[in-house]
Symmetry: C2
Subunit: 463 residues, 2 copies
């Protein structure tokens, strides 16, 4: 599918030079952050206001042009690839921070604001926005993907932190999903319907987010364990006794090895937890003591504190480099990240199962996880041209998903569905998939919003 | 509308004696907890399993019988009245606690289990379910109404505490809205769509809930203030500095007077905060000291601790009696509770505005509020037969809603929409109301689920 002359004219009238059909721009928006095949759109638009997005949607609706909303392009499941061509709406120029309300602990930003830009802006307010998926994603993209990351265990995911959204419907109508009150029981929860909808129901153009006061005290630590199980049991026990950990991240031996090589560090190459505590001075001290007791009972030996902010930042930079460090173990390769999330009690068994699957894996692989949430990733370094190894990794992913579903877990804790996880939706949701199709049909009747994403075709026709 | 012979036969075949058309049973399910006009169903069914609910729905779908799901009947906005007759599905016999999983801090219960029954069952596990709307509502009803109450400020509302639901669709299909993992980004958020849908999209038959470890230390206190503003500013400042208050409840002078009379207490009749702290011994002590400082800066004089569990329980019994105490100030009267919720910074102004509206109010009225969430109620004692006073209260309610909406607040923080708040949905949601109608049309195409609730007719035909 390419744009017809009529379609092109209509869009150029609207956007002028902020519409591009250049190959470089199209390739840059082909959804290729991970191992997925590139699928470039026919054109890319850079709107600057919600009203402009609405005008674009009215043209696309009238001409039945497929539309793919695009933030930073950092999603990992082909979420923004243009499988049927069409128009990519790149929201990166909608990067204004519209309002910060310290008294209400919230803010409203345009969808193209990145989480780092927001936190830089908040620097002098004593507030911060905690959700941290690693990549410097846009807040609109994070909402659309229901993203989370290292400190969801304390602050929740985007699901828990979006107060309302401004969305543009496929027909080009502008609406707000909710008011700014912290609680409401006024009708259907449209906010949560759009959070995680991955651009398949409309375009998110503004996001109102909860903010948090910077904790008085922050303490981070690293400690190693004799086994993956010992590390997991430590995290689980800490959650079960109610320790309000801000972060509790597991990295396996191979992951630490990759991080050491990539970041020129010298961490002990063993099953490791990275932990962070937030609170008052006294509260953090109390948490630390309790956590240390639990870790020692599980055989942890070398507990190391990162007392100063620089040490702490260096520790978290190392954690955040884990994906790239793993992928970069082979030149010219790309990442493939699994993303299961299971009830906490099933986590050690699922990690053990994954370890078993990796035993004969021919490509470098690291395990890293937000273990306080029951969520972990295996990251592989794959050659996208080597079909044989892609097949092997695909089979491991499939086995991990099957294991997760058998434990009442999900195939995707925080990366979304995109194209990569579509094939698991039927097994994960069963008959509920029919309801999702009905909702899609009701909100995007022409079917132009990010087509062929999230929902697989129903096995039989929808009722 | 009454049941036809065919309809009656089909339902009796299914339910036998668990179907009743007796006037007493119908009147008992007429949705009259508050001031709303009774609207009894034609019949009441008491299913005992999800499969039985599905069978009932298939009959009702085939015969186009209106269906009203019913929990404890404690909702306040006519949420369960049978405006078009039809069949009330009373879920109170579905009262099994199906599974408690201490390791995962969650449980699964049938929809008819009450919150008190669940907490009694959990007594020996060290766990509890915090959401506490006052009434001993069913957990299915609380999910359907997106209920909350006194400790939402710490633990969130039903929105934050339901992990998944089993629902029966209008066509009689059984499905689960999500898996049990704490996080997921696998498609549309059906759980949150059904939470707060008030039985208009399907019947909730099972609820999986988050549980929490009982805090090591619990401390409650009561303190009075020279003005409503001083009390509010204290609560707001405590939230802004990040104090993890478990409860912070405002009661105005008139409310304390009513509680004193009703519960034979002797509290100082002044603007008052009831507060509760949860945490470790040291953590609670720290919170208490900080809170006391903030309260004293706002002019609070008499701070009184309820150290022992009995004192604490008596304090919260007094708080929970506030609704009944207010209503009972006049014999034969019923309650009418407003329920606005606004961004925190707007709360003092909104309470001041409400106080102004109450100045010439001819019926007893109390203000009580979950002020840490920006949510408060004016409770009136009204004579349902006295049209003139109902009109006055209706006007006050309308003015409070208008004020709340002008502050980006909601007309209903936790009571739901039912019939009472339907008329405000257009003003609150604007064009987003169209999306809600589309969702309703997609999930309940025949329109049998709790008809004429939540969504008002659209001003123009839905697109």
């Amino acid at each position: 599918m390419t744009l017809s002359n009529d379609q092109r004219v209509a869009l150029i009238q609207l956007l002028g030079a902020r519409l591009s059909e250049r190959q470089a721009d199209r390739d840059h928006h082909a959804g290729t952050e991970a191992h997925h095949d590139p699928a470039p759109p026919d054109a890319v638009a850079w709107p600057e206001t919600t009203e402009e997005v609405a005008a674009i949607m009215r043209v696309c609706n009238a001409h039945q042009i497929a539309v793919i909303p695009h933030g930073a392009g950092s999603s990992l499941e082909g979420n923004t690839s243009a499988l049927r061509g069409g128009l990519c709406i790149d929201l990166s120029r909608m990067d204004r921070i519209l309002d910060v309300r310290p008294d209400d602990l919230d803010c409203t930003v345009e969808a193209g604001v990145t989480r780092e830009a927001l936190n830089t802006h908040l620097r002098d307010t004593g507030l911060f926005f905690p959700i941290d998926p690693g990549a410097n994603a846009t807040l609109g993209g994070m909402a659309a993907t229901r993203a989370s990351g290292t400190n969801a265990v304390r602050y929740g995911t985007m699901r828990e932190n979006v107060l309302n959204l401004t969305v543009v419907t496929p027909e080009g109508e502008i609406m707000r999903t909710a008011r700014r009150a912290r609680k409401s029981s006024a009708g259907y929860d449209l906010t949560h319907l759009f959070v995680g909808s991955e651009g398949t129901l409309g375009v998110i153009t503004e996001v109102t987010l909860k903010l948090y006061g910077r904790p008085e005290a922050v303490r981070a630590a690293i400690c190693t364990f004799p086994s993956p199980d010992a590390a997991c049991q430590t995290a689980i026990a800490a959650i079960q006794v109610g320790l309000p950990l801000a972060r509790v991240e597991y990295l396996d031996e191979g992951c630490i090895r990759a991080v050491n090589a990539f970041s020129h560090l010298n961490e002990v190459e063993a099953d490791t937890l990275f932990i962070e505590f937030h609170g008052s001075e006294a509260g953090v001290k109390e948490q630390v003591d309790m956590f240390k007791d639990i870790a020692e009972m599980n055989g942890s030996a070398n507990f190391r504190w990162a007392e100063r902010a620089e040490e702490r930042n260096s520790l978290w930079r190392a954690r955040h480099s884990a994906y790239t460090a793993t992928v970069n173990q082979r030149a010219g390769c790309r990442g493939w990240a699994t993303d299961v999330c299971v009830p906490l009690s099933a986590l050690p068994d699922c990690i053990d199962h994954a370890k078993g699957l990796l035993r004969d894996c021919p490509v470098p692989a690291s395990i890293m996880g937000h273990v306080g949430d029951g969520n972990f990733h295996v990251v592989f370094s794959v050659d996208p041209a080597a079909k044989a190894e892609l097949d092997i990794v695909a089979k491991i992913n499939e086995a991990m998903v099957a294991k997760s579903l058998s434990c009442d877990g999900t195939c995707t804790g925080e990366h979304g569905v995109g194209t990569g996880k579509r094939k698991y939706m039927q097994d994960e949701h069963g008959p509920a998939l029919t309801l999702m199709h009905r909702i899609k049909g009701a909100l995007d009747p022409v079917g132009i919003m990010n087509p062929d994403k999230v929902l697989p075709p129903l096995k039989k026709a929808a009722a």
